[in-house]
C-alpha cells in the first residue's frame, strides 16, 4: 500500500482518497451501451426497413444478448455479495435508481431480447430440432416449446409479433442505457456527472459503440467463415455510424461548451483535472483518437470514392477507435468523477490493480466473456442460416 501522500495532491476529504468505483464500474455502462447499440442496429432493419444491414440483423441480436448477460457481472463482482442483488427484485425500494434499473434490465432481457430472438429464430429452431445431432436435438426440441408449426401463417404471426416487440424494444433499449446515464447524471453532489445531458450523451455513445462492435464482429466472423463481406451492408453501417457519431460528438461538445461558458464553481478544478490527470484518457484517447480520427476516417469514406479494400480498413479502424474512445469516455466519467475533491482543492489517484477482484485481469476476463457467450449462441443459433437457406433455394429451404 502506497502512502496516502503519494496518491493525493492538495486537499482531499478522508473518504475521497480511495476510489470507491473501480474499472468494473467503467465496464458496466460500457457493456450496457454495447447492448443498446447492437439492438438499435438490429431495429434499423426490422422497424426502419434498412434492408442493407440485414446480414447483421440476427448477429446484432445475439451480440446484444451475449453482452446483456454479462452486463450485471461487473456490478456483482464489485459488490462482493452477489446473492444480495436478488433482494432488489424481492423487496425493491422505489427511491433507489439501481433497484429500478434491475427491473428495466429484466424487462429488456426477457420481454424484448429473448422474445425477439426466439421469434426470429423459431423456424431455424424447429428445423434444427429435426436435423441436429441427437444431443443437440433435445436442446432445440426444448426451445421449440413443443410446437413444430412453421406454416406460412404462423411465421407471419411471428413476424408481426416480432415487429411489435422491436417497436417496444427501441424505447426499452433507450431506457436501458438512458438509465445508466441517469444513474450518473442524477448525482447532484458531483459536478463532473450532474448534467441532464448525461443520459442522452450516454445513449448516443452507446449506439455508436454498439454499431461498431457488431461491425467488427461481422467483419471478423465473415473472414473466419471465409465468406465475402456484403459491402452494401458495411457501407450503410459506416454511414449510420458516421451520422450517429456526429450527433454524439455534437452533444458532447454542447455539454463541454456549456460547462466552459457557465464556468461554475467546480470549473477550475475540473479544467485542471482534464489538463493534468485526465489529459491522456480524455484529450488524447477520447477526443483525438477516439472521436476526431474516426470521424475524419468515416467522413472521408462518405466524401471520396475509395477502393473496397480501403473502405474495409477505414471501417475496421474506425470501429476499433470508436470502441476505444467510448471506453475512454466511460473511464473518464466513472474514474474522472472520483479523482477530484468536493472541496475543489485537491486530487487523488486511481491505482489500477491487476489480479484482484476488481483489477485489470477481472476486467479483461469480463470483456472476453461476452465473446465466448456469443460464440456459443452462434453455434446454437447460427445467425447466417437464413442466408444459407436462401442460397440453397428460397427462404423455406425446402425442409418444411
Amino acid at each position: 500500500m502506497e502512502p496516502v501522500t503519494k496518491l493525493v495532491e492538495g486537499f482531499m476529504y478522508p473518504n475521497e482518497v480511495e476510489l470507491q468505483w473501480s474499472i468494473l464500474i467503467v465496464l458496466y455502462p460500457y457493456i450496457t451501451g454495447l447492448v443498446a447499440g447492437a439492438f438499435i442496429l438490429a431495429s434499423l432493419e426490422r422497424v426502419f426497413r434498412v434492408e442493407a444491414v440485414k446480414p447483421t440483423y440476427r448477429l446484432a441480436l445475439l451480440t446484444a444478448l451475449a453482452f446483456l448477460l454479462v452486463a450485471p457481472l461487473p456490478l456483482q463482482l464489485h459488490l462482493g455479495h452477489p446473492e444480495r442483488s436478488f433482494e432488489m427484485f424481492l423487496t425493491p425500494h422505489r427511491s433507489s435508481a439501481m433497484a429500478m434499473f434491475g427491473f428495466v434490465y429484466l424487462w429488456y432481457l426477457a420481454a424484448v431480447l429473448v422474445m425477439e430472438i426466439w421469434l426470429d429464430f423459431r423456424k431455424d429452431i424447429v428445423l434444427l430440432s429435426r436435423t441436429a445431432p441427437s444431443a443437440m436435438r433435445w436442446i432445440y426440441k426444448l426451445l421449440t416449446l413443443g410446437s413444430q408449426n412453421i406454416s406460412e401463417r404462423s411465421l407471419q404471426i411471428d413476424d408481426r409479433v416480432g415487429y411489435i416487440v422491436t417497436v417496444v424494444g427501441i424505447p426499452s433499449a433507450f431506457l436501458l442505457h438512458g438509465y445508466v446515464g441517469f444513474i450518473f447524471g442524477s448525482v447532484k453532489a458531483n459536478p463532473w456527472w450532474s448534467t441532464p445531458l448525461m443520459p442522452i450523451v450516454f445513449l448516443f455513445s452507446a449506439i455508436s459503440s454498439g454499431i461498431s462492435v457488431v461491425l467488427l464482429i461481422y467483419m471478423a466472423a465473415t473472414r473466419l467463415r471465409r465468406q465475402a463481406l456484403d459491402m452494401r451492408c458495411l457501407d450503410t453501417m459506416g454511414s449510420y455510424l458516421f451520422y450517429l457519431f456526429v450527433i454524439d460528438f455534437t452533444l458532447e461538445m454542447v455539454d463541454l461548451t456549456h460547462r466552459i461558458y457557465e464556468a461554475g464553481e467546480s470549473f477550475q478544478s475540473l479544467d485542471f483535472m482534464v489538463h493534468s490527470r485526465l489529459y491522456f484518457s480524455h484529450i488524447v484517447v477520447q477526443i483525438v483518437l477516439g472521436t476526431l480520427v474516426p470521424l475524419a476516417l468515416l467522413g472521408s469514406a462518405q466524401l471520396w470514392r475509395m477502393s473496397e479494400a480501403r473502405r474495409k480498413s477505414v471501417y475496421a479502424l474506425s470501429g476499433l477507435l470508436i470502441m476505444t474512445g467510448i471506453f475512454a469516455m466511460r473511464w473518464n466519467v466513472v474514474i474522472g468523477g472520483q479523482l477530484f475533491s468536493k472541496s475543489f482543492l485537491g486530487y487523488t489517484t486511481y491505482k489500477l490493480e491487476f489480479a484482484t477482484r476488481e483489477g485489470l485481469l477481472a476486467a479483461i476476463l469480463l470483456m472476453i466473456l461476452p465473446f465466448i457467450i456469443l460464440w456459443a449462441l452462434v453455434k446454437l443459433l447460427p445467425p447466417w442460416t437464413t442466408l444459407a437457406h436462401e442460397a440453397a433455394g428460397g427462404r423455406d429451404g425446402g425442409n418444411t
Binding site: 486537499f11 422474445m115 426466439w118 416449446l145 410446437s147 408449426n149 406454416s151 401463417r153 404462423s154 404471426i157
Partner: protein, 154 residues
Amino acid sequence: MKEAVHLVRLAALFAAGFVAFLVIRQMVVPAGFGKYGHFRAGALDDIRARPISYAGHGTCEACHDDQHNVLAKGKHAQVSCEACHGPQNRHAEEPDKVKPVLPDTRVLCASCHESNSAKPKKFPQVVASDHSGGEPCKSCHVPHNPKLSTEKGQ
C-alpha cells in the same frame, strides 16, 4: 389460434416464471416486511430483546456527580460519559462486581485530537508523539476538564 399456439406457450412460460417469482418472493421475504417502512417489522422486537450495553449519562451522573461537576465546567461538557469509558450498563447494574477499566489516555485522546488536515483548524489537535513524547495525556491534563490550569490564567 391454432397457428399461434407456440405464442400461447411462450406466454404461459412467462406467466409460470412470474408465478414462480411471486411464490419464491412469498417464501423468502420475511414476514412483516414493509409494515413500518423498508425493513422487517420483527427486527424492532429483535433489537429490543438484545441486552442493553449503554447505561446513559444520566445513570452515571446519579452516582458520579463529583466527576460530572468537573466535566460540566470544561470543554468536554457535551461528551457523554460512555463515549470515552465505553458501554457501562453492566457496571450500573452491579457497581461492586463489575468495575470499569480506565481508558489509556495516550490512545483515547489521540482518537479525537491527533492532528489531521481534514479537521477544522479551530479544533484542538496535536501530533501526539511530538506533543507528549509518549507520556499519558492525563499526566498534564484532567480528561474531564482538559484545559491546563496555567492556560486558564489561574
